[in-house]
Assembly symmetry: D2
Homo-oligomer: 345 residues x 4
């Protein structure tokens, strides 16, 4: 940690800062420049709050030289992690192909969509039973009934299933039905929920919040990891931008940026990132070319009947075409795609 002092700081203030540093069992290394004095803080700084030093009179700025996350960092785990979702691998050269409707709406619809995405090459089935909706008057999902349909459909088509949990009181229920638990973008800093899923050992799909920095995302992953659950897959799904032409701003550079900082797999979700079917294929391919460990796509066989987010869903035939292009890219980049485990689950 480096403490930069204000110009015009008094000797008394400098000494006070040094005393505070030393009172915490750390060493202070003073360096006087032409215009500014800085203090290097040496020692195991892990339990220190930079904000404690920031508030001392005479301090201009405090700069951390170490990341605040540990378990998520490449320092802790230099090789890429591979997360296994009931037989489907994500990370370390394995691409996850997650597809399905925004919401589970009925057994019939779920069956038809699962059949088509499985045939196109998807290896994990998605579907929401509890939906985070901006409006209290909007469709909120089927609840446990939806979880059952999702599980049964996944079993029929031999696909592990992923679904979102929003309520810490329902983590146990969702865990019983799902192979992977999704934390949505709006809950990325719902620390209560992160702690709860950290206490399971289920793989977690952690979506980046709409205004979360990459470091924020890794800190949220750290909440889960620090509870003992190592199975975290990150997901870039667009951040807030100023141009309403796209629903969100797809930050494809987050993929290599995360890979430079963390061993955790990261996938992309162009459906939520753009909200426009005409942009989804291009952004999905961009994500894979940038090194993403998987692609999450919403697919619906009748978007105008969808209970939520119909306009952003691909049709089954559009998904089929895209999945073929993703396979070609995977081959070019030497990635493998686990087959769906089969109906014998």
């Amino acid at each position: 940690m480096i403490i930069i002092l204000k110009s015009g700081v008094s000797e008394e203030q400098i000494n006070h800062v040094i005393e505070r540093v030393e009172s915490l069992g750390l060493k202070a290394h003073l360096s006087r420049g032409t215009h500014r004095t800085i203090i290097g803080v040496i020692g195991d700084k892990s339990q220190l709050l930079p904000s404690r030093f920031q508030a001392i009179p005479g301090v201009a700025d405090v700069i951390s030289v170490l990341p605040s996350y540990k378990l998520a960092s490449t320092d802790a785990h230099p090789d890429p992690s591979v997360v296994d979702i009931s037989g489907v691998k994500i990370g370390g050269g394995h691409l996850g192909m997650i597809a399905g409707p925004c919401a589970v709406e009925s057994a019939e619809r779920m069956d038809a969509i699962a059949e088509s995405v499985r045939a196109a090459g998807a290896n994990i089935l998605r579907g929401g039973a509890f939906k985070p909706r901006t409006s209290p008057y909007a469709y909120q999902g089927m609840g446990e009934e939806g979880l059952k349909i999702l599980r049964d459909t996944g079993a029929k088509y031999g696909m592990p299933v992923v679904t979102e949990v929003m309520d810490p009181r329902r983590v146990e229920m969702v865990e019983r039905y799902a192979d992977m638990i999704q934390i949505g973008a709006r809950n990325m800093q719902n620390f209560v929920l992160l702690t709860e899923v950290g206490q399971t050992r289920k793989p977690v799909l952690l979506k980046r919040g709409m205004s979360a920095t990459i470091v924020d995302l890794l800190m949220s992953a750290e909440y889960i990891l620090s509870q003992g659950n190592p199975n975290v897959v990150l997901c870039e799904r667009g951040v807030k931008g100023f141009d309403s032409a796209t629903r969100n701003l797809f930050d494809v550079a987050a993929v290599p940026a995360c890979k430079g900082l963390s061993h955790l797999p990261i996938i992309v979700d162009p459906s939520h990132a753009t909200g426009r079917p005409d942009l989804i294929p291009a952004c999905a391919l961009a994500g894979v070319a940038a090194g993403a460990d998987g692609v999450h796509i919403e697919v619906h066989n009748c978007p105008e009947d969808a209970m939520s987010d119909g306009p952003q869903a691909l049709l089954p035939e559009q998904y089929q075409k895209l999945a073929g292009q993703i396979r070609d890219l995977a081959t070019l980049f030497g990635k493998t795609i686990s087959p769906a485990p089969g109906s014998s689950r």
Copy 2:
């Protein structure tokens, strides 16, 4: 609702859209322009999802002409609402003066800070017992012990107290100790938590999320209102910006913008909005001049010892000076400030 069709739309597609509109019990009003055809949808549109129409082939755009919130809108309640927090009024010409430390740290510290802010003119005491921290390794708050200290200190100085709840399982506990429940920025779209506090009748301080639009904020208020709790106070506390000079970007225009759309009171929190004590007074005064119904300020008597967010706290003497300036502004604009109810509570 207005449906704008794509250029080159076929008659068959137009008819299909009209059929969909009419199948929902609504009237369609066709208008053919030189370059584009539009369809006005007439009827009670409240339960309609614009996304259902957006997904129909041939549709370019769907424009809602009515807001999606109802109970929060000035249509539902033309006069400004006044929220009563155990005797302190906020809204309709009454300014709330909320002050206190970021976190409750000990009974002694809480007492000293409460005494100073009460003397300076604050009428509501704040203090966090459950802290939403970006890092799992950071101080997480005193929990229920902190709630007791907060309640007892408030009682001693005759000030209603406000504190944050993060976990739906703890709403009942927080409700027992607090006069007002805070929903933090990171939980503004934690719909489970909003629903839970909506089922109490306690006043709720709803902070704007860092990437929430004004409409998003009003929709989150609507979650609480629609559960039957009418006592919602909005709070502007800064949104994400691109300039790291300030912690967040204080959106002072949100104050008049909300007042044009909603009857709910709105206060400002310049402590979180700027994160810099040198900017807090100017932004607090700006908020009041813009019409805010109150000011939320973090105050600490020894910022360098604070367990969280010390660098953004004002010292008691700084708060005292600011509170005097706020009173002068209130007088100029004809606002009143409820006195703290007194120790006889």
Copy 3:
């Protein structure tokens, strides 16, 4: 154009709006809904300013249903444009490979870098002679001497050259030396400069401004096109974001979004978009996978000696590897890359 009236608008106000519409030679089509009244404006609206209607009392909102750009739109030119830069094609399936140093620094350095990028497969050489620097004390470029070096180096290696112009008084000079004129991000809305380059017939590389929407970018292209110069190539180079981890936020979705609206070619510049050599290759590949018509990369053979932007430059060997990957992607997607025309120019 659609005019949405306020709730509670009077008949007198409605009539006034209709009169204004008709006084401009247009037809008004009134549609009364349950809650709101709207007026469709029918006729050739091209010369109308929506703001004229916005300011009329009783008007809530004015919505344009046609884009404000014409020559840049796919309506005007349904097929993708191909821009020819002295023998190198960009657009319509042809990839431009633009590479070179940020600034022209000396003939020797320029020669070495040109030799290496040409060998790696670049087909257009870049180098700045006039540099837009945030600080007046930073290196401002070699001026005309730099233009001569650039032209001579391009001629030696048979590569067309592109360089930035910042001053309308120097457009004529830059035009004499360059095969393509670059308008930098900070000048994307320098309408004086756009008009000036619009009066040449040289290909223009128009970089997206850091806070420009896609429509803003197309409107700036329209400035050039409307002066009679059809040779515009757009360039996505990152927009402002809230995460300082990357210099800018690379908006890869802008590539397919522009292609849906405009026939103009669009390339990507991951060097400026990310400012980090470790992210540039991933983002370059992402851009090509998303359909970009070219890639603009800064290359320097000794970044720590570079007069500007050294830290974001790739080394020649890094560029060589990346160029090979881009060629593989081009083959996969059926794109062609014009060879550099050769030294016989």
Copy 4:
């Protein structure tokens, strides 16, 4: 300057960095921490480019401890500057009241508006003769004829006049007619234009760009100051945000933030910041309460006839009311407002 080295940096790399520092005539001060090594660079760093060090292998980050602007900083000039615009003072306790139409449209209209704003208390008259328009098809201003009308109207009502210049070739012409030259937001980083107005001695109104940080704004002021023109007034006019409810995001905290870094006066422009007449008065008052040295407001006597930006103009009677409130605030905060110099100019 502080150079932070990567973890795992070799001794050879450390020595190379030190050699580079010393080769530039500076001293390197090495400090080895538990996890990271840092190098403090001591000496007159003014001509150094941090980017030169950033590009050296083994360097993780380079942190400047001194601002890059000098003449604009409070170090260079600790007391607030007062800029005199032909007799009207801005800064150092003096409020500028700039008002007038977006564009000069005719002598009659200019006269009527000038009469009304002068009567309301404005002391500087504005009006655009060259308009930066997003669309090439929109009204571009009256040119020199407009400048004459503006000058003559100002003379009649005894008000100094401010108008925008966009073209470096027209700085001389605008200088002849105007008392203050405006650089618009889109040209804040048009360094050619900044250099040109820096060579005059006319007061310059420098508007913050829509994606400019506060440091960017001060660097652009430095361009003007470094050419010898000390008469710069900054202007906050809103930055890009994600909420389309307001045209831009009014960053009122920029006012105290600039005052902490620079001696230059800073005013606010709520007309462009919000684009909505219903928000302008609240934001104008917020700006003054936050310490702004003036308020820039667009006023039009018939917004629906305005050639540009009519919807954001206040009516004369709205301006009159607001000006009275601003005077009350000025009195409360001990600020003075120079009277318009009178018609005897």
